[in-house]
């Protein structure tokens, strides 16, 4: 399938003001043609408003939206050539699968033979051949998802917008669909803007992720970079599910935590600092071990919870700070797991000792 119809998208200084708050305050963003960009944020962060503005369903209070070089800010949705997949799919229940997919083609007065062929082609793309005559009500959640997708791509849009399209599916199906969406993205070379509040989903699928909070774009980066180098307190807690502990800055690359001095890759800012501790980057270690690339922490085991594939240990550091670490529950590890109330020594790689501003 030709990929040329997908375009880049630019959003310039978007502001959307509601009576009491800014749903979007000065958001700028560039999405390359063929890129899969996720907009990640909690509810109320403005991510859906941003999607609505890009889709043309609401207008911005100020700012511009460009597709390629064209200013589309004042174009109504029907002139934007975008494929949209909503959370609840928004399939037309009074039409069949094929009629749903043919809807955008009919709107463009595509000839009948051509129309039929393209519907069949779209159904093949989403692996739904032979479902054309089914009524929408007779489809499963995953099938509805595919039909919505087929309908969004059949008219060769410039851009595909997705608003939490997988949130209604159960876990297994959701993971399968994530991979399918990724493949589809590669095959079509489509520009996709994908709104979600699920960080794992965003990390799995995206080329880049834009994290939003309180109407502002906080960070935009590749998944790995986002995870490794969160821009601030919010991104660290939202993306990594990290425990954030206040720390003091002791030097250029040194912070104090739990009575110990930790080395970090970089501490650039002054002011309030936090260390973002990911439960699974903290490992058990012997008393003897001493490695130049590691930071070491000492504490007491306060609680141990068996969670299936791992054990979660609550550890109180010497100054009373509580942290959690996750110990994979295979037997190599279980041998060395200390008992409740016992001393424990932990290590963490210097590069994993991420410090973020508050």
């Amino acid at each position: 399938m030709p990929a040329s119809h997908f375009e880049s998208v630019s959003v310039r200084n978007l502001v959307k003001t509601y009576h009491t708050f800014d749903a979007l305050s000065d958001v700028s963003l560039d999405i390359a043609a063929g890129e899969f960009l996720s907009i990640l944020g909690p509810s109320g962060s403005g991510k859906t408003t941003l999607l609505q503005v890009i889709g043309g369903f609401t207008g911005p209070t100020s700012g511009k939206v460009y597709f390629g070089d064209t200013d589309v800010t004042n174009l109504p949705p029907q002139k934007r050539e975008i494929g949209v997949v909503f959370q609840n799919y928004a399939l037309f229940p009074h039409l069949t699968v094929a009629e749903n997919i043919a809807f955008p083609l009919k709107a463009r007065r595509v000839g009948r033979a051509d129309c039929e062929e393209r519907v069949a082609q779209a159904l093949r793309t989403v692996d739904m051949e032979g479902f054309g005559d089914r009524p929408i009500a007779k489809l499963s959640g995953g099938q509805k998802q595919r039909v919505a997708l087929a309908r969004a791509i059949v008219f060769e849009p410039r851009l595909i917008l997705m608003d939490e399209p997988l949130s209604a599916l159960d876990k297994n199906l959701r993971e399968a669909m994530q991979l399918e969406l990724r493949n589809l993205h590669k095959n079509l070379n489509a520009t996709i803007i994908y709104v979600t509040h699920d960080q794992r989903e965003a990390l799995t699928m995206s080329d880049r992720i834009a994290v939003m909070n309180k109407g502002k774009l906080v960070q935009i980066d590749q998944p790995k970079a986002l995870y490794r180098a969160p821009a601030d307190h919010f991104v660290a807690s939202f993306v990594g599910e990290a425990t954030l502990l206040p720390v003091t800055r002791l030097g250029d690359r040194q912070i104090g935590l739990g009575g110990a001095t930790l080395r970090t890759p970089d501490v650039t800012t002054d002011g309030k600092l936090f260390v973002a501790l990911q439960a699974d980057t903290i490992l058990l270690c012997d008393d003897a071990e001493d490695d130049a690339d590691s930071n070491y922490l000492n504490g007491t085991v306060r609680d141990l919870v068996y969670q299936g594939e791992s054990l979660k240990a609550d550890v109180v550091l010497d100054d009373g700070t509580a942290i959690a670490c996750r110990i994979a529950s295979h037997h190599y590890n279980l041998r060395s797991v200390p008992e409740l109330g016992h001393r424990i020594r932990l290590k963490m790689h210097v590069e994993d000792t991420i410090v973020v501003p508050g």
Binding site: T17, Y18, H19, F21, T58, G59, P60, T61
Partner: protein
């Protein structure tokens, strides 16, 4: 509703076009409801071509006038109370019965609801008049020797009006009652409440909004009710509505009719205004 966006240019145009869609309906209402109300206002303050308060003075000073207002309020209150009394058990049974029975009970409420008021009033005439069903049956049975005066009086008006109003109470009440989970009553009983205690302390408070909506609607509809009092009241002027009609059709006293009609309207609007604080008017109206 709470958060009004500062609208962008396209949205402003769009919002304006939505208002435009409203316009034809507004024009109809302006022509058919508000123009006549305006006409009534003008007429009511006019006597022989000059401004005058004589028509309103008449309502206060002439006993016939204000006593009809009092009677109307009395009848409406009685109708509301009786309708609530009759409507509650029906709505309660419909909310608690099995699906089949619920359907049957509601169908039996719908039947009169969808039947013309004229037809129903005619039915009551047949039943209640001198040679009607009740009298002939009682005479055939030898219980009475000469027919009772059942129609063309206050009682007949009451019966006929209650018959019209009961469905208006049943529908909102049923809606409220069927939303109360049956487990609540069971929980109440299990906590040691008797049936009547649970009813008074759990079911009745929870169904109160439905009851209020129905009662307000019935009261207001009763205040302006015309057909049943006119036909079953036997030519006596019992209600304000008849007073309006008579002043127009029989005496052509438009000023008197207008002042009476507007006084009634003020009462009705005052009721809605008060109730609106507790229960939005749209909720009350939305039942039909």
């Amino acid at each position: 509703m709470t958060d009004m966006p500062k609208l962008s240019a396209i949205e402003r145009t769009e919002q304006r076009s939505f208002l435009l869609l409203f316009l034809p309906a507004l024009i109809l209402v302006a022509l058919i409801i508000f123009a006549p109300l305006g006409k009534l206002v003008v007429q009511s303050f006019q006597d022989e071509g000059a401004f005058s308060l004589v028509h309103y003075k008449r309502i206060v000073t002439e006993r016939i006038y204000w006593s009809i207002f009092v009677d109307t309020l009395e009848v409406s209150l009685a109708v509301t109370a009786l309708s609530a009394l009759l409507g509650y058990p029906v709505a309660y049974a419909a909310a608690r019965a099995s699906r089949l029975w619920t359907g049957l009970i509601l169908a039996m409420v719908m039947l009169p609801f969808w039947t013309s008021v004229l037809v129903r009033t005619y039915g009551w005439l047949v039943i209640l008049q001198r040679r009607g069903i009740v009298n002939t049956t009682l005479m055939d049975l030898g219980i009475i020797s000469k027919p009772l005066e059942l129609s063309h009086n206050y009682t007949a008006v009451l019966i006929g009006m209650v018959h019209v109003m009961v469905p208006f109470i049943v529908f909102p009440l049923y809606a409220a009652l069927s939303k109360i989970p049956p487990e609540l009553a069971q929980a109440g009983n299990s906590l040691g409440g008797t049936r009547s205690y649970v009813f008074r302390r759990v079911i009745l408070p929870l169904s109160a909004p439905g009851l209020l909506a129905g009662a307000v609607l019935v009261f207001v509809l009763s205040l302006g009710f015309y057909l049943t009092p006119e036909l079953l009241g036997g030519g006596k002027t019992i209600m304000v509505s008849s007073l309006v009609e008579r002043n127009i059709e029989q005496y052509s006293r438009f000023g008197a009719a207008s002042s009476v009609a507007l006084s009634l309207l003020v009462i009705v609007l005052a009721i809605f205004w008060v109730v609106d604080r507790v229960l939005p008017v749209e909720k009350i109206i939305g039942v039909k």
